[in-house]
């Protein structure tokens, strides 16, 4: 391994100074007995601390690519660099202990307790018992499972979502700089999946790992990815940030793959906090006379400042229009969801304490989207 340490750190042109953590150089995989490469001449750089989503139809080589990074699958040719070090020929088992790995349904060991499952890699790395136990508790906390309840349980006593959380905790156990995730949320019901994705982003904000993440779900790719790599039969078709992939597909394949729903999917990229919202005024419940403020929506709020109903709406009758809210940390997609759900043509955007920050109208939304697209 010593002769590989002097490899230069490869900088990406668009990486904004962030060094590349994972670099694939001309990597190719031809399975024995097959003439067609599963992955051919792939160059891919993943900057430190970013989530890159590998996506494509089945058989496109995305999973093969992922598994070549930790050499579960040995590349036929090419080089793999991790943090600047050539790891193409180092001991595979040693290498894998330094890379987090999460698969569908967690792949937890059914005969190990939850704490033992999380401690698998630290134990192999020779940590002492006390430290392993502490680390397990710490990680259970991080993934939102109460350590005292869960540490001594066994995987089959956990729901699919909880198992997946443990799977993530296990991958994080030895604090590896790099994590590989192979459709980790693929076998989980949509509601739980959505929550796990949110939690995952939350965790990533604190741990800042470099993550390669295989998915077949474009929605998931757009939601989680800093970048998306679209694969087609062993080739990388486009490698860009989600917005670019959705709005400017590199070729017909990508535009077919992204499909007609691109505009709708983009909604989940627009964060409400970055939008120009309509102003909102509030009145204490029971306070009289608010007429005359024609241009502004007025909401009646309860004692803690949370809006409960509309008192006045510009250019319309406020009675019978339900007041619905969406947190400002959400996206336009969430806002649309709320509006459709309650048949309301507008939604109040609220902050963490539930206080109204502004209003988003159904009609404005369409206009807003257009302006932003011109900006882009």
């Amino acid at each position: 391994m010593s002769e590989t340490t002097d490899q230069p750190v490869v900088e990406t042109p668009d990486g904004a100074g962030k060094p590349d953590m994972i670099v694939l150089e001309g990597v190719e995989k031809i399975y024995p007995g097959s003439t067609q490469p599963a992955v051919s001449q792939l160059d891919l750089s993943i900057p430190q601390g970013e989530i890159v989503m590998l996506i494509g139809p089945s058989g496109c080589g995305k999973t093969t690519t992922l598994k070549m990074i930790n050499r579960l699958i040995e590349p036929t040719s090419g080089r793999i660099l991790l943090d600047g070090k050539d790891v193409t020929h180092v001991n595979g088992d040693q290498l894998r202990r330094e890379i987090g790995y999460v698969i569908q349904q967690g792949g937890l060991f059914p005969h190990f307790s939850i704490a033992d499952n999380i401690g698998v890699v630290p134990k192999m790395l020779g940590w002492d018992k006390q430290r392993i136990r502490q680390r397990a508790d710490e990680l259970l906390h991080l993934v939102g499972l109460e350590p005292s309840t869960f540490r001594d349980r066994y995987p089959r006593q956990l729901s699919g979502g909880q198992q997946q959380r443990v799977g993530v905790a296990r991958a994080l156990a030895a604090d590896p700089p790099v994590m590989l995730m192979d459709e980790p949320f693929g076998a989980i019901d949509p509601i739980t999946r959505d929550r796990l994705q949110d939690e995952f982003l939350e965790i990533q904000r604190t741990v800042g790992k470099t993550i390669a993440f295989v998915t077949h779900d474009l929605q998931e790719a757009v939601k989680l990815g800093d970048k998306i790599a679209v694969f087609a039969t062993g080739r990388l078709e486009q490698y860009d940030d989600p917005d670019t992939v959705l709005t400017r597909p590199a070729n017909d394949f990508v535009s077919d793959f992204v499909g007609g729903g691109a505009a709708v999917r983009r909604l989940s990229l627009l964060e409400l906090a970055h939008l120009e919202l309509h102003p909102i005024e509030t009145d204490e419940a029971g306070a009289g006379g608010a007429a005359g403020r024609n241009g502004t929506a007025v909401a009646e709020v309860d004692g803690s400042g949370k809006p409960v109903s509309w008192r006045h709406l510009p250019g319309g009758d406020a009675t019978g229009v339900p007041l619905v809210t969406v947190p400002i940390s959400g996206t336009v997609y969430d806002a649309v969801d709320v509006m459709l759900d309650s048949s309301a043509s507008l939604v109040a955007v609220v902050d963490e304490e539930g206080r109204a920050q502004g209003v988003l109208h159904w009609n404005d939304l369409v206009g807003g989207l257009r302006t932003r697209e011109r900006d882009a």
């Binding site: 330094e98 792949g107 059914p110 005969h111 890699v121 066994y154």
Partner: protein
């Protein structure tokens, strides 16, 4: 004299033969299981790559061949095996144990191979992804997960061995078969029927003792997370 009187008045001999029967089965099953489990562990590799020659090929060959061969041995009547081994190993306990051991091989080997190879692929893959080497995977993941199946194979083979061990008396092997041969050779004489009856029924008692033994072993050795 009724059956119980017979048992009471011959309790010492009967108890001795029952213990001997138990021990012969225990030793044979112990040796046979050790061989089978070790062999099973050694040869339970993945499917060999059909395009590349490797050690996996030998392992697969030994595994498949071993299964066919030991299965064939199991169909050979016990009297024939006792007869064939008698000239080599002589009359007595050695022959009895060798032949019994041979009969235990197939069931345990089959269950070991089946148990090791049916471990969930996702679990093995995640173990590999976390940096488990082949041996560590085999011993800390596959073996514990296959253990209930292996143990059940040992249990079944024990039951079968109890009834085969009876025939060992033909080559003067120890155990309850002695009561059977004695009884039938004295047919018509006093207590000859009780002798045969006792020899037959006490096999079930030996079996019951083993069942309890296995229930305890199961409790103690099957990891809590996979206990049903």
């Amino acid at each position: 004299m009724n059956f119980l009187d017979y048992l009471a008045s011959n309790s010492q001999q009967i108890l001795f033969l029952t213990q001997a029967h138990f021990l012969v089965v225990l030793i044979a099953v112990g040796i046979g299981s050790a061989i089978s489990v070790a062999l099973g562990l050694a040869v339970s590799t993945g499917e060999p790559d059909p395009r590349r020659f490797s050690l996996d090929w030998f392992a697969t060959g030994i595994r498949e061949g071993g299964l066919v061969f030991t299965a064939a041995l199991l169909t050979v009547p016990s009297l024939a095996l006792f007869a064939l081994f008698l000239p080599i190993t002589g009359l007595g306990v050695t022959t009895a144990i060798i032949v019994l051991t041979i009969y235990t091989l197939y069931t345990v080997l089959r269950n070991t191979v089946a148990g090791l190879t049916t471990v969930d692929r996702a679990i093995l893959e995640s173990a590999r992804g976390l940096g488990y080497g082949r041996l560590r995977r085999l011993l800390t993941i596959q073996l514990p997960l296959a253990w209930p199946v292996i143990l059940n194979g040992i249990r079944v083979t024990t039951l079968i061995s109890i009834s085969i061990a009876v025939v060992g008396a033909v080559v003067q092997g120890p155990g309850l078969g002695i009561l059977l041969l004695n009884g039938i050779s004295r047919i018509g004489a006093a207590n000859s029927f009780y002798q045969v009856l006792a020899g037959t029924l006490l096999c079930l008692v030996v079996a019951a003792v083993f069942e309890i033994f296995f229930a305890i072993v199961q409790r103690l050795t099957i990891p809590r997370g996979i206990r049903v």
